[in-house]
Amino acid sequence: MITSPSKSSTWDETCRFEDDFSSQNGIATESQTFENPEWGKCIDALLKAWNEPCGLGETPPNKKAIRLAMEWAAELKKQFPAFPPTCIIPEPNGGIIMERQIRLKNGDKRLYELTFYNNDKAEWTSYLNGKVLKIVPVSKYPQEHNLAAVWA
């Protein structure tokens, strides 16, 4: 179960798909209807990577990884227009990492990372204050996941 930080602050050894992570499409709330213009820059950056992948490291992201990142970005943008990534960066062994940082009211730092590897696999990692809470594989289809648990 993807739970709030206060309820889950230790590494989940099972690291498997869990009920809350399966399809329960998150719904954009009123506070999320404003579209942050940074989303446009993120999509442009992915398009640029698509067109010019060389120069993005010794093992640059391939088209599969970039396409997957773009599909996830499009869906996240649709559902969370106010919450663009804080960073998009090549994975050192080939792929794309898309990150969102959240500063919680109590000062804790929550961080989500979606990693799209060149081998067509993808995973979601959640951190709390630098500690990994979960590493969970994700599918090609963002609609299959509870995106509120992944990104919000």
Partner: protein, 163 residues
């Protein structure tokens, strides 16, 4: 015997730069700069600062036109971070690179064997530990700890050994 108080340099590759970066984001680097790549099967590459100058530490003969920056890291501090991430005794293993082959002993290039790509790819617990290690390293860095990019070094002008 490895000197735990020594400074290590980690090359920050051009490809390690983000393709998108939210302007107010901290820390200054993403932890991907400290994740092992396919080149790091035997461990994360570092240069021992006692045996190579910064300008040479930021240079790779196999990529002569690439300009790298370097992150300055205290080995004893890395050991503390590694301990917190689940590596009780982070090692530094000397493994000569092309410049070591050219300049000879003492060799400057080394690896942190625990931070290797094979474990990262094949063991979920290791992946979790290595990701945490990378996050803690970047959280510990400030702008003074990142230097470069440097000019292409010239053997006639730039010494490869620190004074």
């Amino acid at each position: 015997m490895t000197d735990a108080s020594q400074t290590l340099y980690r090359q920050i590759k051009n490809g390690g730069n983000p393709i998108y970066y939210e302007p107010n984001r901290t820390p200054i680097l993403h932890s991907a700069a400290f994740l092992p790549s396919s080149q790091d099967k035997d461990g994360l590459s570092v240069i021992q600062g006692g045996f190579r100058t910064k300008i040479w530490a930021a240079y790779r003969p196999e990529q002569p036109e690439e300009r790298f920056r370097i992150a300055l890291l205290r080995f004893d501090f890395l050991k503390t971070i590694a301990l917190d991430a689940g590596f009780p005794d982070l090692q530094l293993k000397t493994t000569p690179d092309q410049l070591d082959d050219y300049f000879g002993i003492p060799f400057a290039h080394g690896v942190l064997p625990e931070i290797n790509r094979i474990s990262y790819d094949n063991c979920l617990v290791s992946k979790k530990q290595i990701k945490e290690f990378g996050k803690k390293v970047v959280e510990s860095l400030n702008s003074q700890d990142i230097e470069g990019p440097f000019l292409k070094p010239d053997e006639g002008v730039h010494s490869h050994r620190p004074d």
